[in-house]
Amino acid sequence: MRLTVNGLTQEAAPRPGQCLRTALRDLGWFGVKKGCDAGDCGACTVHLDGAPVHSCLMPAFRAEGRSVTTIEGLSGPCTPGEGVPAECHPMQAAFLAAQGFQCGFCTPGMIMTAAALDGGQRQDLDTALKGNLCRCTGYRAIRDAVAGIAHVDTGAEGDPIGRNLPAPAAAEVVSGRARFTFDTAVEGLLHLKVLRSPHPHARIVSIDRTAALALPGVVAVFTHADVPHRRFSTGRHEDPHDDAADTLILDSIVRFAGQRVAAVVAESEAAAEAGCAALVVTYEIRPALIDPALALSPDAPLVHDGADRPGEDAPPLHTHPNLAAEVHGEVGDVAAGLAQAHHVYEGEFHSQRVQHVHLETHGCLGLIDADGRLSLRSSTQVPFLTRDALCALFDLPRERVRVACARVGGGFGGKQEMLTEDLVAFAVLRLGRPVKWEMTRQEQFIASTTRHPMRVRVRLGATRDGQLTAMALDVLSNTGAYGNHAGGVIHHGCNEVLSAYTCPNKRVDGYAVYTHTLPAGAFRGYGLSQTIFAMESALDELARMAGLDPYALRRRNAVRPGEPMISNSLEPHDVTFGSYGLDQCLSLVEAAMRDPGAAPPGSDWRVGTGMAMAMIDTIPPRGHFAEARLRLEADGRYTAQVGTAEFGNGTTTVHRQLAASALGTDPARVRVVGADTDGVGHDTGAYGSTGTVVGGQAVLNAAQALARAVLVAVAERMGADPSACRLAADRVETPAGPVPLAELGPIEAEGRADGSPRSVAFNVQAFRVAVHPRSGEVRILKSVHAADAGRVINPMQCRGQIEGGIAQALGAALSEEVIVDGAGQVVTQSLRGYPIPACAAVPETEVLFADTHDRIGPLGAKSMSEAPFNPVAAALANAIRDATGARLTATPFRPDRIFAPIMAAIGAA
């Protein structure tokens, strides 16, 4: 058939069941994205004869003879692969000016939709954008873009630090030219699909691959019989021993419904799917453990039974084989502290399983490169650790494996895992051909990772006037079928939640247990969001008992500089007060909340106010490493090579500003290239909010070293004293006159950072809410968030990180839950069943910054990526409590779950 795309007449031969999205991508229009592939997220929006449609729902054959406009052609006719156009559409310009994106994966669809709105629709974005989901921004920046509000600092002069400079890739992102993981065409590409277990626990008796191999296009079928018998963890950490090696590429035991059973590699996705359907698998079904509360009972089914691993080293000895990790500690004497308390509060809180829902699904594309190396292009936050894991798995030296990222479409911790690379690498090594595996949205829900569901018991004691005498946490964390991040999350989750407060008696008992459910993993907040929900809710009750307002209770008890930061042991650590802005955050929020905010929707709605705080160490413990290489190029411009991946975290922007500041140049003259194991020696990865404080520190160190090297070089050449020379944008000023940088390059310098010592950052969130007394609906009337991020390198971007964290946390607090039924099956398998916040669900938050300067972080900066998530659920719960009298102890606060307790509380009042 013939159709017109972006003014170009193209011939296409779509398959009968093909949708327009993949047909357009086959024609080279990679700006058309797959987010959900089900019509919910809008990332695939194109204009069909001028009308916006979700191209994933549009049968491709219906585009015959019609005119399609994709993001690439919004500003005018173009051809596939053409670069950023000179002119952009007004809506693209508006998204540039407002920086209405972070990872940029939803942006093409968002802009295509926004560009099609009439004036009335623009006034009601809550309705008009209900079919466009953004997981990063929290929508404020998008609303600003549509309203034509600009935020970008367009001045070129002066120190770039503290200025609202745009993301380096902004023009590519808004024009649909930014290349994400799968936005590339590879000759001879094979496609991998996975057959997944229908049973939560079973032994695979046999897999008959005859019928599958007989299908046209099927190239290979791999089962547990084919893969190396070497265990690893999908969770990636600097020290691979942090996570239990309990996973095989393909296992003969399946431990959750959704686990890989076999992989089919074929010439097309369709053939690979057909191959999976043709596999005949015989299972020996075993009893499954679904409820984490039963995991440690003597007769619980074992998730990792030593009898299934004859001849292997026994796993680490725990009191129960289903115990994946534990943490215990006490300082002082909690029993005594509770005994002497005037007020005692005890409560049990539940945080549910939530999914990251980065819009770009997991996946990678692997091949043998021209040098004969295994080369992977992956959607990962940890390319270096993945490279190392592949080396270990396949006995390859580091120089034989390359892992690199294109732009990554969101992560939120979910991509601190090796979920696809092991299998793709295996297939590439076996077949010698390029192989791609792009997870479906359904696979994201049933077989990737989630936040750890937790049950948290809190016991608090305080004196009559609200001074804490005891804090105790008893935590049960459900790590699912595999132990990736089980230990890290339980330890981190029980740490800053306690060290944020000064109290002589503290105790923690934490257990992470295996169950036959999909694995939990790293998730924004890394355990703290769950425990902080419990702790800050409990402290709210304690404040009420003591007759204190919640701010006063925090001021009385929160840790202050000069006091030791203690969680549950007196072991020495490397966390210190590089700066302290909690006092400012509390005051900023308290003052801003005096404004009443929006009016409640009706006179019978109950109105209340609540707050919560959170502290976080700025860097994960025990070493987090980054290297950067900065080069003055022969053309007088700079290139910064970093290890960190850009997935909407904005580190590229920050790295450029840091480098430009140290080099006294215009940021536009600094190119940042990242996330390639060929680029630098090592980088632990973009997790733990380290992009600025570790990755940025390495860049700053490298830039400072380069600045010195350039000055020495120029001084030598001009016979001047280096201290008399000064770097300028494109030249060096010397006593003997200016020397253009272009005459000095290439000069290179390196910088490193090792992630120690560490500082602390603070966040305070408050809400005013209206709660409907009968329906259980919650409306946010006012939202204020103060952050102590140290010296803010880019306020516009940091504000966006905070807004995005709040929005994601609102989803977790109000609507999201990966529901696993009693049989271990994931019920919520699509975005339709797993409602992440749309525009209408996210109110504008007033974001305020403490004025601090950290003596540890680069140029005074601290981390601010995960932290804003952490206080949100408790602040909301405390506001609902204030409004209605109901103390909600389990997220999400869905109307159907909270209407009864709310009615009961109001009725009782």
Partner: protein, 275 residues
């Protein structure tokens, strides 16, 4: 998403060109549901778009909506002034989970045939006494009320090979006064409870309950019931077996909200008095 098991598309231009139905066939309306989920059992799509059905036809008898009429076309419809109940069209379109972009493709007939409890076109046409016209494979037509057409979650009265051709709303229903209430767990989300009330000139009051129940429930009262009578009628009509339970709302909340909405609608329609 790509439906990789589909091997053929038939694009008939008139009824006589419709192929003989066989297992693995699907009638393709807007495609917004078919292409939104894996359909491993499908092998052939029969595209209804080429049949050229007029989307909306106004006659003395009422309004006939072609199954292929899009939500967007219905939403743009300007009804005769006397059709007071046509005021329900806007709220019912907005009750669709999909955005205005989906409205450009999704069809009224598709919404009925999908037979989701929350289907807002089911709510609209059931509340307004809609009658479906079905094309049988034998070449005949079969009328069936919307209430009988939708039998349960994703279950209709369509027999193999039958096609939903249109839905007709009678003038008598369109000239009633009407009110509606709806709630979902998230703003703009899928309906958890959706109640429509209508009142005839002769005083007849009817409630059509959808979303909270597995299939549409109609309760009619010869005159405005008091609260006790209304609650008793609801309790009788909505049993635990008829309540719908899925991720878009717990049954107890759906029942609770349905009761609250029924009372609010009764008050609204009573307040205005009998015209």
């Amino acid at each position: 998403m790509d439906l990789n098991t589909v091997e053929a598309v038939i694009r008939p231009g008139m009824r006589s060109e419709l192929p003989a139905w066989r297992p693995g066939d699907a009638w393709l309306g807007g495609g917004t549901w078919l292409f939104s989920e894996p359909q491993p059992a499908l092998h052939r799509l029969v595209d209804l778009a080429g049949l050229g059905w007029a989307p909306l036809t106004v006659t003395e008898a009422g309004l006939t909506i072609a199954a292929t009429c899009t939500i967007a076309e219905l939403n743009r419809f300007t009804p005769p002034a006397a059709w007071t109940a046509a005021g329900l069209i806007g709220p019912c379109c907005r009750a669709l989970l999909g955005s205005f972009k989906i409205w450009n493709l999704a069809t009224v007939g598709g919404n009925l045939c999908l037979a989701l409890p929350a289907g807002p076109m089911i709510a609209l046409t059931a509340a307004l006494d809609g009658t479906c016209t079905l094309w049988t494979p034998e070449g005949d037509e079969r009328p069936l009320s919307v209430l009988d057409f939708v039998r349960g979650p994703q279950e209709t009265a369509l027999r193999p090979g039958e096609i939903l051709r249109s839905i007709t709303l009678p003038t008598a229903a369109l000239t009633r006064r009407a009110a509606s209430r709806r709630i979902s767990l998230t703003p703009g989300g899928r309906s958890g409870a959706f109640v429509i009330g209508t009142r005839d000139a002769d005083g007849t009051f009817a409630l059509t309950i959808t979303a909270a129940v597995r299939r549409p429930v109609r309760i009619a009262f010869p005159r405005m019931p008091d609260e006790g009578d209304l609650r008793a009628a609801l309790d009788e009509a909505i049993t635990d077996a008829t309540l719908f339970d899925d991720i878009h709302g717990a049954p107890a909340w759906r029942r609770h909200m349905t009761g609250a909405f029924a009372l609010a609608i009764r008050d609204e329609l009573a307040r205005e008095g009998v015209s």
